[in-house]
């Protein structure tokens, strides 16, 4: 609770996003001053397009973290989804299979964590490994082709903007509405505050937490569909960085890793920070090796701001 900036509940939630927004603006300003080309319309569009998959995954991750959990299996779900979509079976079958697979992964996480009380880190690391294995079994090496419609979607534009950008915006708006406007959203905050108290207060806590894991897997699946469309093939390892990136973006966005406080707006800003930073480092000719190093340092810095009552996971 040390990051409380207001005694007003909704204000406190909104304000948790401020540092990320400020950081994003700062990096953007730095970019604008040092590199003239950075703010060309083309670069911005590219950036948004590139981030659409990470954004989708981060939305799901934010739900899980707000409810007091962690989902490290999202990256594997992204990989599995691209692997399934590249199986070259009937497109509808492929989509259905990908969604069902993701749903089952989410359900497994939910049951393990809620019903069997397995620690979220251990549970989702397990499913991460299992799903990674499944992705490799389906598509040992990158390749294959995805349904033609998907490629058309990735290349399609509306008013000059690529379709994935619209998809991303719609997804962000829907998730904010879900979190900020519905009972379910309020209950996500409630269980993140204290699952026991929420249950005593009339929230079906187990269902809410479980639903977050299922939604997270489905969001990861959407991210995977979007990614498969953009790379037009399957890749069993393509999602490897998504778990870390989505947690990093969520933490950067001011959501407490212990749950109960944060916002979708923050996570959007968190994704923006990661994207702008990667973009800036490219413009400034920093090697990819150093970029990795900086990303790790940023992740450490982001969570160091959230001091808890006791040290721990």
């Amino acid at each position: 609770m040390s990051i409380l900036t207001s005694a007003h509940a909704r204000q406190a939630r909104r304000r948790s996003a401020l540092p990320a927004v400020a950081l994003a603006v700062l990096i953007a300003a730095g970019l604008a001053f040092t590199t003239p080309g950075a703010f060309s319309a083309q670069n911005i569009v590219n950036l948004l397009n590139q981030q659409s998959s990470v954004m989708a995954v981060t939305l799901g991750q934010t739900l899980v973290i707000l409810a007091g959990g962690f989902d490290l299996s999202v990256g594997s779900v992204v990989s599995l989804t691209t692997a399934i979509l590249s199986l070259e079976i009937h497109p509808l079958g492929a989509f259905a299979l990908a969604l069902v697979a993701a749903f089952l992964v989410g359900l497994a996480n939910a049951v393990g964590i809620v019903r069997f009380r397995i620690h979220p880190i251990l549970m989702t690391i397990s499913t991460m490994t299992i799903v990674q294995g499944a992705a490799l079994l389906l598509r040992p090496i990158p390749g294959g082709t995805v349904p033609a419609g998907l490629v058309a979607y990735a290349n399609g534009t509306l008013f000059g903007l690529p379709l994935p950008i619209y998809a991303m915006v719609v997804l962000v708006l829907l998730t904010s509405l879900l979190l900020g406007g519905t009972r379910f959203g309020l209950h996500v905050y409630a269980v993140g505050g204290s699952p026991e108290n929420a249950a005593l207060g009339g929230v079906r806590a187990a269902r809410v937490v479980g639903a977050c894991y299922v939604l997270s897997a489905l969001f990861a699946c959407l991210g995977g569909i979007n990614l498969a469309a953009r790379i037009a093939s399957g890749d069993p390892l393509v999602g490897a960085s998504f778990a870390i990136d989505s947690v990093a973006a969520t933490a950067l966005g001011g959501t407490l890793l212990s749950g109960g406080m944060g916002s979708i707006g923050g996570s959007v800003a968190g994704v923006a920070v990661l994207a702008l930073l990667a973009n800036g480092l490219n413009f400034w000719n920093v090697s990819t090796h150093f970029q990795m190093l900086i990303k790790g340092a940023l992740l450490i810095a982001a969570v160091s701001a959230h001091r808890r009552a006791a040290p721990g996971l």
Partner: protein, 326 residues
Amino acid sequence: MTAGMASEGRTSSLVQGLRSLALTAVSVPAYPALAGLLVASAFLQPKALTLPFLLIVLRQAVPLGLVAIGQSLTMIGRSIDLSVGGVIALVNVLLAHRMFATGAPWMSFVMPLALGAAVGAVNALFIARLRASAVIITLGMSIVLVGLSYVVSGGAPGGQVNAAVRWIATGRLGLFPIAAFVWAGVALLVGLTLARLVIGRELQALGANYFAARLGGLPVGKTLLVAHVASGAIAGAAGIVLTGYIGTGTLNLGNELVLASLAAVVLGGTSFGGGRGGVLGIVAGALVITYLANLLRGMGVAQPFQLVIQGLIVAGAAGLAAHRSR
């Protein structure tokens, strides 16, 4: 009357003995799992029960076994160390670097331990002092370390490591691999520390209740520091052994040991905040995972399928642990 009571006492003590045996089996899933694997291999792959094969498994289990012992220290203190993979990756490219490959042999041993200890100290600073999420801090640290290993090797490692490093990893003392003695030594040291020394008691108390430990006058920050430094240094030692096996620098060595170490610890009956299995359980856990991988490979089971099985093992063991603590 008296005799009846005495015999009743004996039966009840027998029942109690059986119950405590069953409890141990549930508490430390590695023991029944190891027994089950040995029995199963007698049917499926009798070759896997021969001494040479078992010695190979023993040697292969050393890096994982080392990392898991270090990992267990952080987990007992309700923390976690996901940076062990990064430590091994960086140690590996450094050992293959000219400076250490051609330098004095002691440098190749001191550097990994010192590097691991330093990484652990930094982790502990963030986790204990700033009280940031241990998962994210050590994950971030891992990324930094792997990034550093790319920077050091320029993305193209290679080269030869010091002969002493190869010797400690692949050499034998009589029948037994030298590396196994290193493992046994570390296990003994950590086991005694946990069971007998003040710092071991402090770590277990801290894992059981941080606030009580702090108000009870225990040096909570220092204890977490020691746990993380030990975990880092032991990961460094695992880096030496693993590098010695392959003899050269490579990218992202040790990556899969992070998950496997969690699996070994959980199989060994330890979870976040402590447990019942002790170091012996964790040693058994590492043997189970390594033996299983070898068995599956011997049976021609594909690598991805092994991942699936490993994931199921962690989930199953963690489920048992959670069930037990309720």
